[in-house]
Structures are given as C-alpha cells and as structure tokens.
C-alpha cells in the first residue's frame, strides 16, 4: 500500500522533471538550431534570459527522482543502473556539460568562447534527454532484469530509441512553447512569431513519434501497450491527446495564453500514462512494486520526507516562478554593481 503511494510520488516527480528539465533541454535544442552567431543572437539571448533563474531548480527534480528511487526502491535502482550503465553514464556526462556550458557561456565575452560553450550546452541538451528517454524505454520494454548486466540490447532497441526521440521532441515542444511565452512577456513579438511555428512543428513530431511508439510497443513492450490502451492508462493517453490538440489550438490564437499549461499537461499526462501502464510493475514483468520496495519503516519516513519537501518546495518554487514572470528577477550589470542602494533606492 505505502509502496504504491511512494511509486505514485516517484512517477509524479519524474513527470515534474520531464516538464521542468524538459523545458530547459528544449531551450538547448532551439539554441542548437538557432543558426549562426548573428542570425541566432536574439533567440539565444532570450534562451539565456529565460533559463537563467530557473534551470538549477529544474535540475534538482532529477536528484529528487534518484533519491526516491534508491531509498524507496533500492533493488529497482540497482537493476536499472546496472543494466542501463552506458546510457545513464552518457546522460550524466551530458548533464555536466550542459550545465557547465550554459553557466560558463554567459561570462564569456569573445565570440569563440561563447560559440564553444554554447555548442557544448546545446549538443548536451540533445543527448541527455535522448539517453534518459532510452533508459526509460529499456525499463518499459522489460529489458532491465536482475540477471542482465550492461548490454547494448537493453537500450539500443526500437522502444528505447523511440522513447529517446520522444523525449527530445517533447522537450523541444516545451522549450518552444515556453520561449514563445517568454518572448511575449519581454515584449518581443518577433521572437514570439519565431518560436510558435517551431513549437507546432515539434508538436507534429511528437504526434508522429507517439503513434509509431504505440505501434512498436505492441510487439516490443506488450505489457505497457496493454496498459496504454486499457483503463487508467488509456484515460491519461486521451488526456495527453486532448492536451496536444489544445496546445495546437492555443498556439494558433493571437494571445497564446495558457499554451504553457496545455503543453505541460501533455507531457505530464504522457509520463503518467506510461507509469500507469506499467502497473503493478516497476519493471514489466519481472519486478513488481511490492517486490522492489524498500523496508516499510523507510517508506513511511520517505513519505514524510516527500510531504515536507512538497510543503517547502512548492511555495518556494511558486515564489520563484511568480517573481520570474513578474519580471522581478534580473541580474545586475557591472555598471549597476557599484550603485549605492538596491531596488527603488537608486
């Protein structure tokens, strides 16, 4: 019972990371495709500006996923990290390069430096979600097991590849939708016009990939396919489809309001649909939630930790997003560093 609750939490945290981290990876994707230094300058500036205050918070969701995994489901954690050794190692490297590339690009003044760090940031933004998605695909298709050691087959298979590509497409969608909204917030209508068609194109890719994935999982991951086409899993699939349609509709409207909510709804319900489809397994069909769960005392404490985390984190993150969207968060330039007071005082 308690294990089930923790599993639901784990799924929700994964969904939060898919949305938060996904948006950042998506921004990196558009950074990569923004073109040369001159042509891509304005989109890149927007990307920098929009990601700056929030990318670290978005990364912490991943750490939270890992903590809940190893404390709540240690055997599952062990098996996933043993079997998915290579994709997860590459994802970890990608995370370092991405974060460092992004954080260190800003202080660079010379074009060569900015190019180098920008390229590191952008390429890593593409590879990291792919490998994380591939690892999830390996889990969904039941290729993780107690006896398998690290092997290429575990992640280089149709389901894994499609999950990886879907992760990229979803993050690109989220990235473009959020950047378009940020462009409106910063009163840059040209960038709004720039990102909207890109968001729609990415959504098209998501739709195509999702259909292909559904077909492929029929043979490759039968348990998940069954879960996705029946019961609660189906409900979330339907919600995801509706959210996709809503995103398209909102993106074509002049104001573009609420498109972010719809896009987040789409990605979150897709992740939840996958999790629901896996029930009652952590790894279909070899490790159930009950069998993979840690000690009951620990799970109860973990429940408390998660509740406290949510009580602490949700208001804090809400304040951050609120301040950010109100335009209250802006770095100082060096020229301003030396002014007397802060805020209105100067």
């Amino acid at each position: 019972m308690i294990a089930g609750v923790i599993a639901v939490f784990l799924l929700l945290v994964i969904a939060a990371y898919a949305c938060g981290g996904g948006t950042d990876y998506g921004a990196g994707f558009w950074d990569l495709t923004a073109g040369g230094a001159e042509r891509g300058e304005r989109p890149r500036r927007l990307i920098d500006h929009a990601m700056e205050p929030v990318w670290e918070v978005n990364n912490v969701w991943l750490i939270f996923v890992l903590v809940v995994m190893w404390t709540g489901f240690p055997v599952f954690f062990q098996q996933v990290f043993t079997t998915m050794w290579l994709p997860l190692t590459l994802a970890a490297l990608g995370i370092v390069l991405r974060g460092a590339g992004f954080a260190l690009r800003k202080p660079m003044r010379r074009l060569v430096g900015r190019r180098l760090y920008g390229a590191v940031f952008a390429v890593a933004s593409l590879l990291t979600p792919f490998f994380l998605g591939a690892a999830v695909g390996g889990v969904a298709s039941g290729r993780v097991s107690a006896t398998t050691t690290a092997s290429t087959d575990a992640w280089a298979n149709p389901t894994s590849l499609l999950f990886g590509l879907l992760a990229i497409a979803c993050s690109a969608t989220l990235g473009a939708v959020f950047l378009a909204a940020d462009a409106r917030r910063f009163e840059a209508p040209d960038l709004d016009r720039y990102f909207r068609p890109r968001a729609l194109a990415a959504l098209g890719c998501v739709a195509v990939l999702a259909i292909v994935t559904l077909v492929v999982t029929h043979g490759d991951a039968p348990h998940v396919w069954h879960g996705l086409t029946h019961g609660a899993g189906l409900v979330f699939v339907v919600i995801a489809v509706v959210a996709t349609a809503a995103t398209v509709w909102l993106l074509t409207r002049a104001s573009g309001a609420w498109s972010r909510v719809a896009a987040v709804g789409m990605v979150a319900s897709a992740v939840i649909a996958w999790g629901t489809a896996q029930r009652p397994y952590l790894i279909p069909t070899s490790l159930t939630i009950a069998a993979g769960a840690g000690a009951p005392t620990t799970l109860r404490w973990l429940g408390i930790v998660i509740i406290v985390a949510l009580v602490l984190v949700i208001p804090a993150v809400a304040v951050l997003y609120w301040l950010d969207t109100q335009g209250e968060l802006e770095g100082l330039t060096d020229a301003e560093l030396r002014r007397g007071g802060t805020g209105e005082e100067t």
Binding site: V57, Q78, G99, T298, E336, G340, G343
Partner: protein, 486 residues
Amino acid sequence: MHTLILAAADVPPQMLPARSMMAFTLASHIIIVPLGVALPLITVITHGYALRRGDADALLLARRWSAVMAVRFAIGVVTGTVLSFEFGLLWPGMMGRWGDVFGLGFGVEAWAFFLEAVLIAVYLFGWRRLPSRTHFLLGLPLPFVALLGAFGILAANSWMNTPRGFTLDAAGNPVDVDVRKAIFTPMFGPEYWHFVMAMFVTAGYVVAGVYATGWLRGRRDRYHRLGFTIPFTLAAVCTPVQFMLGDSIARQVFHKQPVKFAAMEIVWNTDTHVPEYLYGRLHPDGTVSGGIRVPQLDSILAGFRPDTKVTGLTSVPASDRPTATQATIAHFTFDTMVFIGSALVLLALWYGVLWLWRRRLPASPWFYRAAACAGVASVVAVECGWITTEVGRQPWIVYQNMRVAEAVTATRSTSLWITFGVVVLVYVFVFGSFLVVLLKMRSRWRLADEGGGPRPPRDASGRTAPETVPPESDTPYGPRATGSRL
C-alpha cells in the same frame, strides 16, 4: 605474503577504475563545497553590514561575491548530480542492499537543494528590482539551507562508518530498519560539526586570501580591508573551535572504529604506552620507517593516560583491515590535516591577539603571506580529512558489513577506464573554465576599480550619480546592458 595474494585475487578488476573515478569526482566536487556552504554566510553578513551602515564598499563586495556564488553553485549542481548517478553506476551493490537503510538522509538534502536553488536565484536576480530589505531577508535563509544540505551527505557517510538501525536476516539482508538510528549514528554528530566548521574555515580563508594577496600588492583601500577582515574574522573564530572538534572526532574514531584509528596512527599491535609517529611509513611486516617517533604520545592523546590501550591493526585478520599502504596513506593525510590545522590556529591567534590588544590588523607582510596561503592550505586539509576517513575505512564500504568489492559494478573494467578518462577530460574542461571565469571577473572588476575607485561618485545631494560612473562592461549574471531586457 599468502594473505596478500588472497586479498588481491578477491578484488575484481573493475575495483580500481571505479574507485579512482569516485575518488576523482568526489575530490573535485569537495574543492567547491566550502564556498557553497559558507560563501552565502559571508556574503549575507557583508550585505547586512552594508545595509546597516549604508556602506557602499561592503555592498559592492556582497554583490560581487554573489556573482561568484552563482557560478560556483552552477558547477556544484552539476558535479553533485554526477555523484548521485555514480552511486548507482559504480556501487550498485551497496545501493541495492542498503539504499533503504541509509538513503533517507539524502531526502533532506533534496529539500535543501530545492530551497538553495530557489533562494540563490532570487538573491542573485533580485538585486535590481526587489526592495533592498525584502531582498536581504530572502537571502538570509541561504546559509541555513546550505547547512541543511550538508546534513544528508554527512548522515550517509557517518552511517557507512558506523552503520546501525537494522538487523540482518538469515540471508544477510537488512531488516527491521530504524531510520532514526540509521541517520543519527554515533559518528554523525562529530562528523557533521567537524565538516561544517571545516567549510567555514576553508571558505573564510579562501576568500580572505584573495584580498590578502591584494594587500601584498599594495591595494590597501577600505574595499580590500573589508574584503579581507570579514571572511578572515569568521575563519579565525572558527579555527580554534575546529581544532577542538577535530580532536574530539579523532577520539570518537578511537572508540567507535578502533581499526581505522590504528590505521590513522599506524599502530600495528594492540598495546599500552603506544608511541606517536609524525608521518613515517608502515611496512607490511609491521615495522615503521621514517617519521618522528614520540614515545607514549599516542596513548596519551587517545585516552589522556600513557597506559591507555590502543587497538592495533593486527587485532583483526588482514583481509578485514586496511593494507600497509592504505594505512600509510590514511596516516599521512591525517598528519597533514592536523599539521595544517595547528598552523591555522597559530595564524588565527596572531590575528586575534593583536585585534584584542591593539584593535588593529597585523601589519607584517608575513602575516598576509601566511593568510594568502591559508586558503589553499585549508582546501588541502579538507581533501586530506576526506582521504583519511575514506581510506581508513578500507576494505569496507559499509563498515564491517559490506566490502567495497561486493558493492562494485559488474561493468567491465575497460569501459570504466574509458569513462574515467572522459570524466577527467570533462572535469579539467569544466574546472579550468570555472577558474578562467573567476580570474576574468577579478581582472574586470579590478579594471573597473582602478577606473573609478571602489566608491561610486556622489553628487551634491549625496545620491549616486550613475551617469558619472565610468562604464564597466557587463559580466555574468546580469549580462544585459542597463535598460535593455533582451
């Protein structure tokens, strides 16, 4: 010799690369941890001082330190994420069997990371728009959150040293987990406070060292004085406390992990009236070469009496204790840490005594030379302390419950070596860039200061006149030119 060969045969080939990779990534991460834990405190103190006194120099310092905080936090976040991946990638055996026993502390760490990321973002990007009081108050919890962040990792490490909060079933798996006991193990308190103080001391000396160098190069204005005194005073106050804490944790190790203590002090046979070796090298036959031998001292330090019985390495089978080389490493790093700690106490005394008697800073260039080195020395001490605790625990990953060899991944050693190589390259790139960025920020700021002086020019009404401020080109974390948002 026989046991040596046996022990070598037990070791899977992936141990060495896995260990090296973990050691390398941790050693790199730990360099920037002190700044993460203590720089927010130093910055907030300076910021508070600036607001209270209306001090423009202090405010400028706080703003610049917050920019350093930002770059450092970003590097810390990514190298920290790597470590949590490595638990699974390198030591799946430990996580699979013990994850539910000791993992919970990290949950607390996750709270801290979330709050830290949010607060840092608000503090960093709130300078321009938030009212100054609100902005300061939002920065105030940062140091506490940083302390909370240290909680999880220290709880896990102290559990690995003195594991409890579980019983073993017939198959040797942990059952009846008691989370509170697992987090608050006997070593937790000593390790936590020793670590926290180490962070304050290190960050204080590192930051002060930068301005001590400036002082030596003739930059002796108020800006540099403040930049030196605030962090140095914090570090100097913490240094003697740290010395006492260090002494107490060594005694805790003596009681709770006698074999580790034997390794740290290279004690071969259990005995009373044990001599202390300052450095020196332990050989597999139990003899010690080199070093300075002080009769009776080890017993006295451990139990305040020369007849205190100190457990030796030979009290357990060779396979259950650190090898002679490992003991020598633990001993060497332990002695280095103690030596640096003692030197820092003298430095702190020099500063403190002069301040209390004469109310002034030391004038001797030797003091500032020492202060400039103190930062590097305390980073070395942190690394040494960490090596002592990790190497001294060998061959156990979970003391007396699981060997490192049982926890290591089954991935082929070749793959691990290749990954390790890539990781080294990536880290050299990342840390090299970090250093370059800091140096660039420094020279940019110095140029700006030489242009306009650290104090902003004021007009007749006493208000800052921004248009007369010499143009300072933009730096990170605020890369936009004034007025333009995109």
